[in-house]
């Protein structure tokens, strides 16, 4: 155990800090859930890519720095400290990218990864369907291999596709063997959203912006070269992604450390109420940071992350809600003012954050499902029937 940074790590931190200080936009970009904001964020991804900061943990050949998980956490800390823009291509860089590296062909790696890292292709997820939410294995959208074997013909509907309104590509699971047991018979396919027969309908979220979309497929023809992993092995491929998503990459601790620090700032400007809650927020963010450093150290030692990733997901998502609830209580009469209101504090950033935090216990597997996973696979309790 050594909880001090190595010289190499310190140098990496300094390099990131200096680059970010020189490049982070002086004023915040528009929300990436608006058409203008989306393109602003795409341009920012390109800027990151030019500095080789868009995917620091990727190998250099795809535009990364080959940084290990510790350095990735260090970069994230500097990123949030610098107040840099949100990552519009999070789904691609942190979820799909690692999966392509794990199971993709060389051709797929060369074709998708650099365009992903540079923001040329922005990705959305296609997991949920109207009747497949927590019960993800009940996916019904069909993909049928055309007679020549070179393309899929897709029919069905995906929904709650985050960033779907403006994204270029969708990745998701489609049923390819209706006769198989439900977890089998699914295939992971990459779909260009400009394919004829694909219709994207944006869905307004709680904040009124179109953060997600539903996507309809009517005889949409997609090249069989876009199959990721083996046919009918999509569940296994997706679980690799989902484990990584819940486990480490989805919400780096730096985000919550920053929220806790902002909360301490808000407390300092208020009347001394909620001392215990503000302290709890800081302690939880610090606890999550320590927990993450322990997880990635285990990974670096050759360990794996499995069902215990569900513990992480519950912890950060519920912490995020609590921190924002505390902030809104401190703001009192100004708490529920929306952006643009004359008295809104910090342009209603806390309310925005609160609305977003409420999605945390739902997306990436509801926290109820996560608790089942912990009970079944970490505590080895009998499966429910």
């Amino acid at each position: 155990m050594d909880l001090t940074e190595t010289g190499d790590e310190e140098a990496f931190r300094s390099e990131a800090r200096e680059w970010l200080a020189a490049h982070v936009p002086a004023s915040p970009l528009a929300s990436f859930d608006t058409a203008d904001g989306f393109e602003q964020h795409r341009a920012w991804e390109a800027t990151l890519y030019e500095g080789r900061w868009s995917a620091v943990s990727w190998p250099a050949e795809y535009g990364g720095r080959g940084a290990n998980y510790i350095k990735w956490l260090i970069f994230e800390e500097e990123y949030y400290r610098a107040g840099a823009p949100g990552r519009v291509n999070q789904n691609g860089v942190f979820l799909l990218g690692p999966t392509i590296m794990e199971v993709g062909t060389d051709e797929q790696k060369a074709r998708f990864l650099p365009r992903m890292a540079s923001g040329k292709d922005i990705w959305c997820q296609g997991w949920s369907e109207p009747n497949a939410g927590s019960d993800l294995a009940s996916i019904r959208s069909r993909a049928v291999l055309a007679d020549d074997g070179n393309s899929w013909v897709i029919n069905g509907q995906k929904t709650w596709c985050s960033r779907g309104a403006f994204a270029d590509w969708l990745f998701g699971m489609f049923r390819t063997d209706p006769g198989a047991e439900r977890h089998r018979g699914l295939t992971f396919i990459l779909v260009p959203l400009d394919t004829p027969g694909v219709t994207v309908r944006p869905i307004a979220q709680l904040d009124g912006e179109t953060g997600f979309a539903e996507v309809f497929f009517e005889d949409a023809v997609v090249s069989a070269e876009n199959t990721l992993g083996e046919v009918n092995q999509g569940w296994r491929v997706a679980m690799a992604t989902a484990g990584f998503e819940r486990g480490v990459s989805l919400r780096s601790p730096a985000r919550f450390v920053q929220t806790a620090e902002r909360l301490v700032g808000l407390f300092a400007r208020s009347d001394g109420r909620l001392r215990d809650e503000v302290t709890a927020a800081w302690m939880d963010a610090e606890g999550y940071r320590l927990h993450t450093y322990m997880t990635v150290s285990r990974l670096l030692d050759g360990g794996t992350i499995g069902a215990e990733a569900s513990l992480n997901k519950i912890f950060w998502s519920e912490m995020d809600v609590r921190m924002h609830e505390t902030a809104l209580q401190l703001l009192g009469d100004q708490a529920l003012l929306v952006p643009g209101a004359p008295d809104a504090v910090d342009d209603a950033r806390w309310l925005d954050g609160y609305l977003f935090s409420l999605s945390g216990p739902i997306y990436a597997g509801t926290n109820e499902i996560q608790r089942n996973v912990i009970a079944d696979r970490v505590l080895n309790l009998p499966r429910g029937t």
């Binding site: 155990m1 940074e5 510790i70 301490v264 215990d276 320590l290 009970a375 505590l379 499966r383």
Partner: protein, 338 residues
């Protein structure tokens, strides 16, 4: 930056776990609880392995290791609800009375009675030496020179006492300034480590029970209401662990005044998290066990009560959270004068 234990540290943990499972099974704990004689086995074997003097420099007869090496072992002593003052001896006294701690001596600790530790001294009946605070001074008092009044409490094994004694030049220890504060932090941290083991054992016991006990024709562990109680208990424990391990690092590496401040902060986080995790685990364990867990006959209460007393010892979660608040936010506002 590498936040993991070495293979040697994990092997040592495994050895202590195996030893204690053999030397101090639940039946022994229950026997001591009922006033039966304490077997000298567990402590003698721990001493043989060098646990009490683990952090004592090797030229004083110890192993010359540090708190990061010790933390997993203390966790194991919590797992079996050990009946001896291992935190007091190995985590606290070893840095104050190195020559004593490197042997088989047991030490009890009584810090400022008006402070967060409160007025009672645990293990005063079985300790050979008591380290007691008087003002800014620490004294080492042989057990024959104190008068004890038992304060029977809910844990029948970790017995507590009011202690009467007289400080003298002969008992006074030559210790650096801040020794009492350091002793407090070490005791709170060591207790936090034990609480991890206590909580882990209760969760394990309860998951075992939920797999076996059937109602409505199936194991109760297959019901979501039960699954979620246990998952929440595990969540609290899993997030307490790194905080306690980091505190071990901070306790081991105090070089200057800034480090002392961070040690206090990190120890308080650890004690708050571990206390809350153990109390939660106890509550869930009792609920899932149902009526059988409410009986004297079932072993659960032996661990549950240990969780309660350790959660309250060396400052409870509330006290430690307030200490973190002081570091983070400054002193609390003065109460309004009416």
């Amino acid at each position: 930056m590498h936040f993991a234990f070495t293979e040697d540290q994990l092997l040592f943990q495994g050895a202590v776990r195996d030893l204690l499972a053999k030397e101090f099974p639940a039946g022994e704990l229950r026997a001591v609880w009922s006033g039966g004689p304490r077997s000298s086995g567990p402590w003698a074997h721990l001493a043989e392995m060098g646990v009490p003097g683990l952090v004592v420099p090797s030229d004083h007869g110890g192993l010359g290791l540090d708190e990061v090496d010790l933390v997993l072992l203390l966790e194991e002593t919590g797992r079996v609800a050990l009946a001896e003052p291992v935190v007091e001896t190995a985590a606290v006294a070893a840095r104050i009375l190195p020559d004593v701690a490197a042997g088989e001596t047991m030490v009890a600790i009584g810090l400022d009675p008006a402070g967060p530790c409160g007025p009672y001294v645990a293990f005063a009946d079985i300790a050979d030496v008591l380290v007691l605070q008087a003002g800014d001074e620490l004294h080492a008092v042989p057990s024959g020179d104190v008068a004890l009044v038992a304060q029977p409490c809910v844990d029948g094994v970790r017995r507590i006492f009011s202690v009467s004694w007289t400080p003298s030049a002969l008992t006074r220890l030559e210790v650096p300034p801040g020794a009492a504060a350091a002793a407090f932090d070490r005791g709170a941290w060591g207790t936090a480590a034990q609480l991890l083991g206590v909580a882990d054992r209760m969760i394990e016991m309860t998951a075992d029970y939920a797999r076996e006990r059937e109602q409505f024709g199936k194991p109760i562990g297959s019901f979501q209401a039960v699954k979620h109680l246990l998952a929440d208990a595990l969540l609290k424990l899993d997030f307490a662990r790194p905080v306690v391990y980091r505190a071990a690092w901070s306790v081991a590496r105090v070089a200057d005044a800034g480090d002392i401040e961070l040690r206090a902060r990190d120890v308080s986080m650890a004690k708050a998290y571990a206390s809350e995790a153990a109390v939660r685990a106890a509550r869930v364990a009792l609920q899932v066990h149902g009526a059988i867990g409410y009986t004297w006959e079932h072993d659960l209460h032996l661990w549950m009560k240990r969780a309660w007393v350790l959660a309250g010892a060396w400052g409870d979660a509330r006290w430690h959270r307030e200490r973190v608040a002081g570091w983070l936010l400054g002193p609390p506002p003065a109460p309004a004068v009416s």
